[in-house]
Amino acid sequence: MILASSFVVVALVLCMATVLALFGVTHVSMSGAEAIERDGLAPGVHAPVWSLVDSAGKVVRSPPPTPLQLVMFTDHSLKAFPSVVDGLREVMAQELLEIVVLTRQRNELAESVLRSIGLDGISVLTGSPSLYAAYNVRVTPFAIFVDSAGRVRASSLVNEAWQVTKLLQLADLPLEQENLAPRGRFRRRTAGAGV
């Protein structure tokens, strides 16, 4: 009986070991800095479509009615990035740009903290882990520019003011025809593609 089942035991043990090894290798490779550089969405792909209500009852939509929308993936922890806050204040002056802060989950502190650091007039929206996943965002603060057609124009992890303004410049540039991916095609960015 033991002999008869030996192949099954060996095969199952090796199969499970291989599955675990695959998960281990993938987990390690996706935790590195190079993998985080690939977070976000590539310019030209369709961004997720959503409609959320902010604390004032205003309905915010993506794609936006304005030519450009900056979706900031962050929360009250943005206070720890004063340079990014400066960058946001700088781009807030743009008339044709709508800026929204999207939190990963309900966060009571986010709005009051963001107001206290001078980011008035920015809608703070309660997102979800699945929405973050749809944007392929794991680490914050992360900025993604979306145009009125719903296409991603620029996307990057941001730590400094110049990165926010540089992203806005990139978002203003037209996309090549070949980069206009069909809806539903998920395409990540390459490592080192951030600003």
């Binding site: 192949f7 099954v8 090796l14 993938t26 690939r38 590539a42 490592a191």
Partner: protein, 180 residues
């Protein structure tokens, strides 16, 4: 000795399933490797079909080898495939040294190099060990065991596909933005 042979058979089946499953996650990049070994100009859809065919073939042989271990012909087929690996590695080393072989799709960044030829030779050696006769009792499977192994093979294929997809999407070229 029996355990060694059983391990060899299973390891090769797992290897084929992982290699095929990983390649299926990005057949386009494997098609570019296939093109390296076709001396004539071939249309891209044909190359893609060939790449998918090779990947599916690897998964099919791996699954068959795992669930039908008593069939000796499958061991011979696996050995023949392992020998083909050696031939491809050697040709790649000779003519396309340093190019990515995509043997495991985007799961591992293997290249055509001397180590690759050595790895293929080791795989062929393991396939030769798997040819050694073992007692029929050790390879007898009832329906439940077969279903269990089929499920394990399916899980392995899915894991390889998912892992390769997760690791490989970043290798696509970054779309460029152009100045007005």
């Amino acid at each position: 000795m029996n355990v060694l042979v059983l391990c060899a058979k299973t390891a090769l089946a797992c290897l084929l399933i992982v290699a095929g499953g990983a390649k299926l996650s990005d057949p386009a990049s494997f098609a570019s490797t296939v093109r390296l070994f076709i001396p004539v100009r071939v249309a891209w859809p044909v190359l893609s079909a060939a790449a998918v065919g090779v990947s599916l073939g690897e998964v099919a042989v791996g699954v068959a080898s795992l669930t039908l271990p008593a069939i000796t012909a499958l061991d011979v087929l696996v050995f023949a495939i392992a020998c083909a690996f050696v031939a491809v590695s050697a040709m790649g080393y000779a003519f396309h040294r340093g190019r990515s072989c995509r043997c495991f799709g985007t799961l591992f960044q293997r290249k055509f190099d001397a180590a690759g030829v050595l790895r293929s030779a080791v795989i062929a050696g393991i396939a030769a060990v798997a040819l050694v006769h073992v007692g029929a009792a050790a390879l007898q499977l009832d329906a439940t065991a077969r279903v269990l192994l089929l499920a394990a093979a399916g899980l392995l294929t899915l894991a390889a596909f998912t892992a390769a997809r997760a690791r490989g999407t970043g290798s696509e070229p970054e779309p460029k933005v152009v100045a007005q």
